[in-house]
Symmetry: C2
Subunit: 517 residues, 2 copies
């Protein structure tokens, strides 16, 4: 009966509210159509100004470029409305990859200076072609099972490796394996094994993750050889740079690397190799801004291990203070442990080493993983990796906005790892509309055979953002990627200058129609 009483009270109260508000809103019907349309336009204007970047002022050349960009965008969207099966952001990237290369919008974005990539994992950066080229290196062995049908591991060694990763697998020289199976077959096979293809159907994100982790494991012996590690990073910087990326913040497990004789280096050496390759790359490419490192070991561990992680982070930061600058934990959130299990060791991290936590990369609303968002923010994270679930937490969303915590949105990754299919339903649209800072990143472009950043920008522009989002939107994404980076003080100023130089050049190219194919 208490409930009954409540219902009555609520009902009465509700009626009162409805009565008063209804009288306000209904009175709009007394407007003349002209007055209504004026009000309507005012609302549209306010909504329009809410689109990210709309308050940016464009110069004359940018305005001209904008017209051309919006003309092609409009065409691509009109086609999609007529026949949504032709609209690539409504479909799985694995089905549309070839199609997208023909898109004028994609080709414009490809050449656009997009600033930096702030969310990417260090062994999932390079193109499949580059990975395959690595398998031609000398002294490479492959361990296979099922009569050589299934590759299990790689290893560089002068002699046949002694340790078997699995009981049933056998080592043979890579060159022999290639001869025996036929070069074309092997290339085709590796193309598949080094990526998430062809799984475009919705299965479940656990299955997708199992496959995903399998690629990391397979690549381990190929990439963790010291000289290859160095070359892979240099090549990644090159590929990113060619895709209009001038800055890269990479997350790394920082594995110890091995030498050709089997000797193991230390984690410190892993970082040192990165640092020296970076210097070499910057010397060769003066337009490139910089690269920095976030130490991001696996989350599926005991709290005591995280305590050790924190110590390692402190030591590395002491030796590489401008390069190794942040900390995160990685691995599928659902199967790892929630951040709150690690609060005690994490609170020991000195304040000058920033957190950049993965959080809320899930669609389980109200799960401990979903709640990682709360812990990440309360622990003072500078950015949030993915934050796919953030929009379900209005209070956390307000905090992110207030505390200027940028959300690292990785559209293609979310699709491939089965969080959603249609980019038009991606929750980042709501972050944009609510003015939560957003940067667009690519996570693991190697595994989905995507460009280092262009595909993610393409989907953000065409699929996630409102139709009217224009050059201002693209420009503010680029600016955000520098603003929310770990670049500090003078570094950031230099970053903006280097980006602006390429930006101005690109605007000229667009206006001169040099970018459309």
């Amino acid at each position: 009966m208490r409930a009954m009483k409540w219902v009555r009270q609520a009902s009465t109260k509700c009626e009162t509210i409805r009565h008063s508000t209804a009288s306000v809103i209904r009175s709009l019907r007394k407007l003349t159509p002209t007055a209504f349309m004026t009000l309507r336009r005012a609302v549209a204007k306010v909504e329009h100004l809410g689109i990210m970047g709309q308050k940016l002022r464009l110069n004359d050349r940018e305005l001209e470029a904008n017209k051309m960009i919006m003309a092609v965008k409009k065409e691509e969207i009109s086609k999609g409305i007529l026949d949504p099966t032709k609209f690539t952001p409504g479909q799985h990237i694995f089905k549309t990859l070839t199609e997208i290369r023909k898109s004028p919008i994609f080709n414009l974005i490809k050449r656009m200076p997009k600033g930096g990539v702030l969310h990417a994992h260090d062994t999932a950066l390079c193109s499949t072609e580059y990975l395959i080229s690595l398998t031609y290196r000398e002294n490479l062995w492959i361990c296979t099972m099922d009569e050589g049908c299934k590759a299990i591991a790689f290893r560089f060694s002068k002699e046949k490796p002694t340790h078997k990763p699995m009981e049933k697998c056998n080592w043979e020289p890579m060159a022999e394996f290639r001869d025996r199976r036929g070069e074309d077959n092997v290339t085709r096979y590796f193309k598949r094994r080094f990526s998430m293809y062809p799984f475009s159907k919705f299965i479940s994100n656990n299955q997708a993750w199992a496959h995903f982790m399998g690629i990391f494991i397979l690549l381990d012996g190929l990439l963790c050889h010291a000289p290859v590690w160095a070359d892979y990073y240099y090549n990644a910087l090159k590929e990113f740079s060619e895709d209009g990326v001038q800055y890269l913040e990479l997350r790394s497990l920082l594995p110890p690397l091995y030498c050709i004789d089997g000797d193991m280096l230390t984690i410190r050496d892993t970082v040192a190799i990165y640092q020296s390759e970076l210097e070499r790359f910057k010397a060769d490419h003066p337009n490139f801004i910089d690269s920095k490192l976030i130490y991001a070991p696996l989350r599926g561990v005991e709290p005591s291990v995280v305590e050790q992680y924190v110590k390692t982070a402190v030591e590395l930061n002491k030796e590489f203070p401008n390069f190794m600058v942040g900390f995160d934990l990685v691995g599928q959130e659902e199967l790892g442990r929630p951040l709150k299990d690690f609060v005690e060791p994490l609170l020991k991290m000195p304040e000058h080493i920033n957190f950049y936590f993965h959080a809320g990369e899930t669609n389980w609303f109200g799960s401990p993983i979903d709640e990682n968002l709360v812990d990440a923010i309360l622990l003072g994270t500078k950015r949030i990796g993915h934050g796919f679930a953030l929009t379900k937490h209005p209070m956390m969303m307000r905090l992110a906005k207030l505390l200027d915590i940028a959300i690292e949105v990785c559209p293609v990754s979310n699709q491939v790892l089965q969080l959603g299919v249609d980019y038009r339903n991606h929750p980042a649209a709501l972050l944009l509309a609510a003015h939560v800072p957003v940067v667009i990143s690519s996570d693991d472009p190697s595994f989905w055979r995507c460009a280092p950043l262009s595909h993610d920008f393409y989907f953000a522009f065409l699929g996630i953002a409102p139709m009217k989002a224009d050059l201002r939107f693209l420009k503010s994404l680029a600016i955000n990627s520098i603003r929310y980076s770990a670049l500090a003080g003078e570094e950031k100023r230099v970053g903006y200058v280097k980006w602006q130089k390429l930006w101005d050049k690109w605007i000229e190219d667009v206006v001169e129609q040099k970018c459309s194919s």
Copy 2:
């Protein structure tokens, strides 16, 4: 260069903000782990109180029932986390329909008194079995083409109908058609033609809509015969009532009906038939609350036609003031016309006839259709049909909350009409979190072979709401369906009393474990 200056200014300003806010948030790292966990729990508590219905007080029996409900819910979710391919809200309803019938949560919800259905179309209410039973009625003719392989239309007539809906189709008596093709074959064929099955794959929502409209067209001659129209409605009320629904607000095109001799009745007669069937049903079923009508003609017309619609609405409301109470426009929003084309005639609607507009049933962000949301709200709509896109418009979302405009969320419909697949990504989760009023409806349950309302409640409870949403959530969905209905004053009070009576009984049944299968 102006842009460059802007970048510098923004950068400096941004640095200042980041510096001040960062010092607030980072200081959390100085907390002891115990203090952190206290803060963390406080945040969790606030988030928990944000779940719809959490402020409801349950009586002792309800608390007991809640424990049992949450135990089975937890089990179903745990299974899903272990193996997401087993989690029905992550998949398409057409693949899981049989599975769901076995779900203990579904069976609890099935018997739960769920209040009213506020969003449903009058020719898509009844079960497929009932539709098939109608095809056994006397004097029914079927028009088929492709050697009788494809049904085009139905018609009740003493003699062979003269008008052909398509050049190439031929009329024959239904009984002959059934004999010729074999009863089982015909039943199987109608089961498919009367529903959206088997299209569970993501195609595009245009294709889904084309198929969907095709069912309405096929059913036209079967249902628009005056006696069948009456029986169909009576049967719908019966099926809804058996599914725990005590109130039905139906949207209707109000087609003129035909008699066996081909004579046509008027729209006024269509409403009169409804009203008299309703009285008959209420006399037979004293627990049933009521049913009301929203006149909802097609939106793909000229503004002058809408002017006529408004006049018709006014006339009907004059004759049936407690039954025909509202107005809407229907048909695929993308292919129809936006509300703003009809502002002039719509503003002529007298204030006592409420608008209940479909709006934002789209994932095209920033399209004119998406913007129907703005017009619907500015025109003073009492509720919004679907509002799938509302979360992309924070200002409109705030207005909906402030003006107490309920969103009629139809989960299964949104999935079948291809707006999204995974219920865990349904935007209604965000409406719930932001305290925008929500009611759950079923739209066209006939076409997806779903229960009148139980499946939609099931997905709302298990897929859309946060994991911790419990009996309080379900109870407030039921209460909302009465609160936001077109029931007025004393009608509403009586409605609550009738619902509460069945609710108390159901709670007892749950506690006594009479509901679990």
